[in-house]
């Protein structure tokens, strides 16, 4: 059956509910089975055993796991993700404050990765059968074999410390302050009309976004080249040649759009992984996003915060999958309704 864009969103929403429930049960139960005390790190040195038990009771950690889960689920139903043990603040507030940083970083990283991937993929195809193609192929294998966090460190050492070309700490220069309106600094600096700050934000985004992009670029590059090979054996390419169109025009106007479909699917999957990659990249570049927040939560065994962020990650991946599916539909006329 052929679906419309709205149909896909509706179906995805229906699937999302049980998916989120399963994820929430898994995260909740696994965290509680770990041999680590969530309250242990949050007591002063002269606290007594009785005070510790009292705190455990106040926070409900002495109740059976199913009861704890039911209470937590009830809270989520009311839009309350609970209170962070470590930070003593609402989990929702913490996540909402951190989310724009991650979304901004991933958006720039994804854009950079897609542009570089498509550009290099097309170039690699154009160079087919030459030594340049072999070099590009080898280069893509090397880039792929290095994980994002290692790229992050290498880029800091090379471009940050070595030639001191780009900054690598935080989101903006230490001497600049921009009023927070949306949390997206690229937008906030423009709203404030502060161009030097905008440029500083761009500079600070360059290395972390590039670190993330490097995980995506070679994959897009290789899939796109492979799709282009498949596309070039189609009749319409031969027909385009017979019509006297230039090779450049055939590639960019006719082959690329048709070869893009597998690349779109790949981008959807990889964008989800890119969110995962932010965990270490945000820590290394001191970006206060949800990846950084998750690492702090894990270190302190902050159960309510870990649960909240895990659910947010899950929602993000579900949304991304939906977006990709809709994009796929838009790009592939065969799947559209008559």
């Amino acid at each position: 059956m052929i679906e419309s864009g709205f149909g896909i969103v509706y179906r995805r929403c229906l699937v999302a509910v049980p998916t989120l429930l399963v994820v929430s049960v898994l995260v909740f139960v696994v965290l509680r089975l770990l041999p680590a005390d969530p309250l242990a790190m949050s007591l002063p040195p002269n606290a007594t055993q009785a005070e510790m038990e009292e705190m455990r009771h106040d926070m409900g950690f002495d109740r059976p796991i199913p009861v704890q889960y039911a209470i937590w689920l009830g809270q989520i139903g009311r839009g309350d993700f609970g209170t962070s043990i470590q930070f003593r603040r609402s989990v929702s507030d913490l996540i909402l404050a951190a989310l724009p940083t991650t979304l901004e970083l991933v958006a720039v990283g994804l854009t950079l990765g897609i542009l570089l991937g498509i550009g290099c993929g097309v170039l690699m195809f154009a160079w087919r059968g030459t030594a340049k193609e072999q070099i590009a192929d080898l280069g893509s294998v090397v880039v792929m074999s290095i994980p994002e966090f290692l790229w992050a460190i290498l880029l800091i050492l090379g471009l940050g410390v070595g030639v001191r070309m780009l900054p690598f700490i935080g989101r903006i220069d230490a001497q600049m302050t921009v009023p927070t309106t949306t949390g997206f600094l690229l937008i906030d600096t423009l709203i404030a009309g502060n161009l030097p700050a905008f440029l500083s934000v761009l500079e600070h985004l360059a290395l972390p976004a590039f670190s993330l992009a490097l995980g995506l670029t070679p994959l897009i590059m290789r899939v796109l080249r492979s799709s282009l090979f498949d596309t070039y054996v189609e009749d319409y390419i031969a027909l385009a040649r017979l019509r006297g169109l230039s090779e450049r025009r055939i590639l960019l106007r006719h082959a690329l759009k048709n070869a893009a479909l597998p690349t779109v699917s790949l981008i959807g999957v990889q964008a989800g992984f890119m969110f995962g990659g932010t965990l270490l990249v945000e820590v290394i570049y001191t970006f206060p996003g949800i990846g950084n927040l998750m690492v702090q939560a894990l270190r302190n065994h902050d159960l309510p915060l870990i649960q909240g962020i895990a659910l947010v990650y899950c929602v993000i991946v579900l949304v991304l999958n939906t977006v990709v599916e809709v994009a796929y539909l838009r790009l592939n006329p065969k799947l559209r309704k008559a």
């Binding site: 005070e51 940050g160 690598f168 935080g170 302050t177 500079e203 950084n292 302190n300």
Partner: protein, 514 residues
């Protein structure tokens, strides 16, 4: 700021790209502003809520404690000008407060704020599912705070609390403004915290950035550095890169091996300093460690000097009791010898030898304090030489706490203990008191000794008692003290850095050289 037109925009982009291409640092330091690569963030901007040791320097920038410490750790007045017990039983502590302390919002800090901070807030009921302030445990023995005048208060205790004065300059003891807190509510306060410390919080991004601006009306005079940006860089290598790339003026908690390299660079000073934190091997009454001979053998087998030389360039000061040198609880004339032969003999007495090594579990953290895992490996190797076979396992801090609470720690655990005050109660008083939730070793004989001291109000008798208790604990093998902790910093030579013997990083005490 007026929006820029397209031409100006392109010019700026071009100029920026040009600067970047030239390889020049984008950050131009101002004469009264610095950037710091700091290792930890505050858990919350409510300074009474949590007592994490690493966050204390940050709180001290924004909030005032009633009493303070100088770089050499001598005690000095702060919000309280002077203090004394006004009764023989030490149940009434009278403090005279400053009349010129002002909060960042312009309100005057008074006795009402003191009462609110140390009595009303800690005793306030906790809503369902909420968490008590840590100060509610710390000050549970305060039954009332009497206000004699806007600058005079008396703390009334339900039981003696000989460490009360120490706690007034230790963790969690920061004055918060009563009227502002009540008006804003806890959540509002966290968004825009207000203290009476030398800096006000100008900007905060959790886990990433703290911007402090000088409090011009600070009673001690406005700090020389008007703006301090603390970049929270959790990764040690990134902190090294930050100072190496001259992106910051100061970087703290760097790997030991990097300090010498950084210090050799022109314009950077690297330093490894011994501080009042300590590193110990916590012993438990388990397996072979139930035998005193085995515990003592484990201590005699450790060559602390060699470890200090190999892992800390000789800068980690070995200790013989669980306290830092030159603190009141440290018996300077006591020495526990490194003697592997004696270790072998003790193990033989306990029935262990080359053919039958004492097999123990040995847990350590990794990356929690400098060279912790490497130190544990070195100790395990030294133990192996005398006949103790340690199964080394790396665990997380949260798991350590879980095992500690459940009395399930293995025979030995390498652990750091923070104490910025130097007061012996904050070392042995919590580490060796079986009633303490932080004590790994639990025995009645040690408990009796400590319990006598936690109610001893005569400071000299109290200190002498702790010195004796410390010696007793080591001679019984209840604890294996190793070293004082180290603080590693690297800073640009233009920064006038002030070293605190307890490792505090306080920008209010720094200057920038011309």
């Amino acid at each position: 700021m007026a929006p820029l037109d397209r031409r100006a925009f392109l010019s700026l982009v071009g100029a920026q790209a040009g600067v970047a291409a030239l390889g020049l640092p984008a950050r131009a330091a101002k004469s009264d502003a610095i950037a710091v690569a700091y290792s930890t963030d505050v858990p919350t901007w409510d300074p009474n809520a949590r007592v994490l040791a690493n966050a204390q320097s940050l709180y001290k920038c924004v909030f005032d404690s009633p009493i303070n410490q100088a770089p050499d750790l001598s005690v000095k007045p702060s919000f309280a000008k002077n203090w004394r017990y006004r009764d023989a039983a030490s149940l009434e502590l009278e403090l005279e407060l400053r009349d010129d302390a002002v909060f960042h919002n312009g309100d005057k800090a008074t006795a009402e704020d003191f009462r609110y901070t140390f009595l009303e807030r800690p005793k306030a009921p906790v809503p369902q599912g909420g968490q008590k302030l840590d100060t509610s445990s710390i000050w549970r023995r305060v039954k009332d705070i009497e206000i004699l005048s806007p600058t005079r208060v008396v703390m009334h205790f339900s039981e003696v609390m000989p460490s009360a004065v120490t706690w007034l300059y230790f963790m969690g003891s920061y004055i918060v403004p009563k009227s502002y807190m009540e008006k804003q509510g806890p959540e509002g306060f966290l968004k825009t915290p207000v203290g009476s410390g030398p800096y006000r919080l100008a900007e905060y991004q959790r886990g990433a950035r703290i911007v402090l601006e000088a409090h011009d009306k600070y009673w001690g005079g406005a700090p020389k550095l008007k703006r301090v940006t603390l970049e929270i860089v959790q990764d040690p290598s990134a902190r090294v890169a930050a100072i190496d790339g001259r992106r910051v003026d100061l970087a703290v908690d760097l790997p030991i091996r990097e300090i010498a390299r950084l210090g050799a660079e022109a314009g950077i000073v690297g330093s490894i300093d011994s501080i009042t934190d300590i590193v110990i091997v916590e012993a438990t009454r388990t397996g072979p460690f139930e035998r005193e001979e085995v515990r003592l053998a484990a201590h005699h087998a450790i060559d602390k000097q060699a470890i200090s030389k190999a892992l800390f360039g000789g800068k980690a000061v070995p200790i013989d009791v669980p306290a830092a040198h030159k603190t009141p609880g440290y018996p300077e004339n006591f020495h526990f010898a490194y003697d592997p032969n004696k270790a072998v003999a003790l193990l033989k007495q306990a029935g262990f030898g080359p053919g039958k090594p004492a097999q123990i579990g040995f847990n350590t953290l990794s990356g929690f304090f400098p060279n912790d895992f490497e130190m544990a490996q070195a100790i395990a190797a030294m133990w192996k030489k005398v006949g103790i076979e340690a199964k080394l396992e790396v665990i997380e801090a949260a798991k350590y706490q879980e095992l500690l609470r459940a009395n399930k720690l293995p025979e030995a655990m390498l652990y750091p203990w923070g104490n910025t005050t130097g007061d012996p109660e904050m070392y042995a008083g919590y580490l060796l008191d079986p009633k303490s939730i932080f004590a790994a070793w639990k025995s009645d004989d040690m408990g009796e000794r400590i319990q006598r001291l936690v109610v001893e109000t005569d400071p000299q008798k109290r200190y002498a008692g702790y010195r004796e208790a410390n010696i007793y604990a080591v001679e019984k093998g209840y604890t294996i003290p190793l070293f004082q902790g180290v603080k590693t910093v690297a800073y640009q030579s233009s920064l006038g850095f002030t070293k605190y013997d307890n490792g505090w990083i306080l920008p209010q005490s720094y200057t920038l050289k011309a």
